[in-house]
């Protein structure tokens, strides 16, 4: 039972981590919370439903379509909701937060309109395949989810630390003006960040569809709030923090089930976050705000 829940926790946690990475990339570069990230994630999940269930096409294609559609949503988010508010005189720093909330409401209603309000199933050809090791059952779908999530995290870390574009993104996250003085086209970099973050949300959407076999237009809100909690836990803007925070939340949610308190699953997970934040208010990998140091 514990081993099985450990595997469940790792699967769930790695999905959380990917959702949180989308938040943390955008926060790192733009200093804003993208409240539409959860709904972009939900659109990714619905692309999975449309491709695998409605059209009965293979899962690999669902990934491609979800990435393309959510990347495009990210592009629109940047062009229509974020860029018009940037660098303008008299715009409150909360304005982009509000405009992303607007986009999230719009996307949720759009999903209602296109896909209906109910639960939609998600077809994967291998959802019933499992391996029995002793008393532990491992589903193939869990392994696939975990592998994709790990691949994505390793890939992102490598891209950020080793490639020219990745380094430029980190430079932008640290100081936009300094990056532009070094020759980085910050406008392009910001757009790329929002697009990549959104596409990661899309991938996470499909992974959730695979894991729980159910997709609803409301799922964006729940996942969005969890993603938000994770980056606060991990440290705002921290990539490592998002990964660690995601795994911690996923594991604590499932491990609670082991102790028979499944009804308190969400509550206990969030209590754990509160306790960690009492000890480390800047989050696990976050840095104390410069104002606090002075």
């Amino acid at each position: 039972m514990i081993l099985e829940q450990l595997i469940n926790g790792l699967t769930l946690g790695s999905i959380y981590a990917i959702v949180a990475l989308g938040y943390t990339l955008v926060f790192g570069v733009l200093g804003i919370i993208n409240m539409a990230h959860g709904e972009i994630f939900m659109f990714g999940a619905f692309m999975g439903v449309v491709i695998t269930h409605t059209l009965q096409l293979p899962l690999a294609l669902a990934f491609v379509v979800a990435i393309a559609v959510t990347a495009l949503l990210g592009l629109f988010l940047e062009l229509l909701a974020l860029r018009p508010l940037r660098g303008k005189k008299g715009v409150s720093h909360l304005a982009p937060l509000i405009s992303t909330i607007g986009v999230s409401i719009f996307l949720e209603n759009l999903a209602h309109h296109f896909f209906g309000a109910g639960n939609r199933p998600f077809n994967t050809s291998f959802s019933e395949i499992s391996v029995q090791i002793g008393s532990v059952t491992i589903y193939a779908v869990q392994l696939v989810i975990f592998a994709i999530a790990v691949l994505l995290m390793v890939g992102l870390s490598f891209w950020l630390s080793k490639t020219k574009a990745g380094k430029a993104l980190r430079a932008c996250a640290e100081n936009l003006e300094a990056a532009s003085l070094l020759g980085v086209n910050t406008k392009k970099m910001i757009m790329m960040t929002v697009v990549i973050a959104s596409a990661m949300g899309g991938i996470a959407g499909i992974l959730v569809g695979m894991a729980f076999n159910s997709v609803t237009p409301q799922m964006g809100l729940t996942m969005g709030l969890k993603g938000l909690a994770i980056i606060i836990l991990g440290g705002m803007g921290s990539v490592r923090g998002a990964m660690a925070g995601g795994l911690i939340l996923g594991l604590s949610e499932t491990m609670i089930v082991v102790f028979g308190e499944s009804g308190y699953r969400d509550a206990i997970a969030f209590i754990a976050i509160i306790v960690i934040l009492l000890v480390r208010p800047q989050g696990l990998f976050g840095q104390a705000a410069p104002e606090a140091r002075r």
Binding site: K167, A168, E174, E177, S180, L181, V184
Partner: protein, 232 residues
Amino acid sequence: MLSVNNIQTYYGNIQALKNVSIEVPQGSIVTILGANGAGKTTTMKSIAGVLKPKQGTITFLDEDITNKNPDELVRKGISLVPEGRAILSGMTVLENLEMGAYQRKGSIKQDLDKVMERFPILKERQSQLGGTLSGGQQQMLAIARALMAKPKLLLLDEPSMGLAPLIVKDIFQIVKEINEEGTTVLLVEQNARQALKIADHAYVLETGRVIKSGSAKELLKDSSIKEAYLGH
């Protein structure tokens, strides 16, 4: 090489530059002097494209660059080392230098070796985070990073600020050497005496206007400059 013609720059409704004209001939060191709030940094930011002047023009190598963005200007050969250095403190010294060459294509190995030879401390600390360096080392890194872009015109905003006198001397020596190797330099300084010693021409700014300009030698002897900026 660079000519700034009657620019006026605003922060919101506040006019920081009322009328500034500056000429920087190729191969020279030109310095801008002035008290706090005179508009020195604003002038530099306007040239580098961080701020956009409302009036006036800036031309570089006979091309109008008035409303270009910083990244386009780096490509054209203008690099600014901003006030406060803007070191990327979460990235290593080596990564900072690599970011300096962001616009360049092809191998940068040779130039990396060259700046590390000039600044041995950076070679020693290359895998350390930029934020862990001392103020003087950070200034060296900021200059080295700007050189990685192979600029034709280097803009230096208060490179000696907050540094110990011995290090200040080093920095001015380095600026002189960089210039002798063919890079044109526009230097903003509070340390007027040192700046005038290495400069060819100088401009004095006061509340957003050029109130005096001339050869550095002349200004070193000018009695009103002596009184206001050289301390006796």
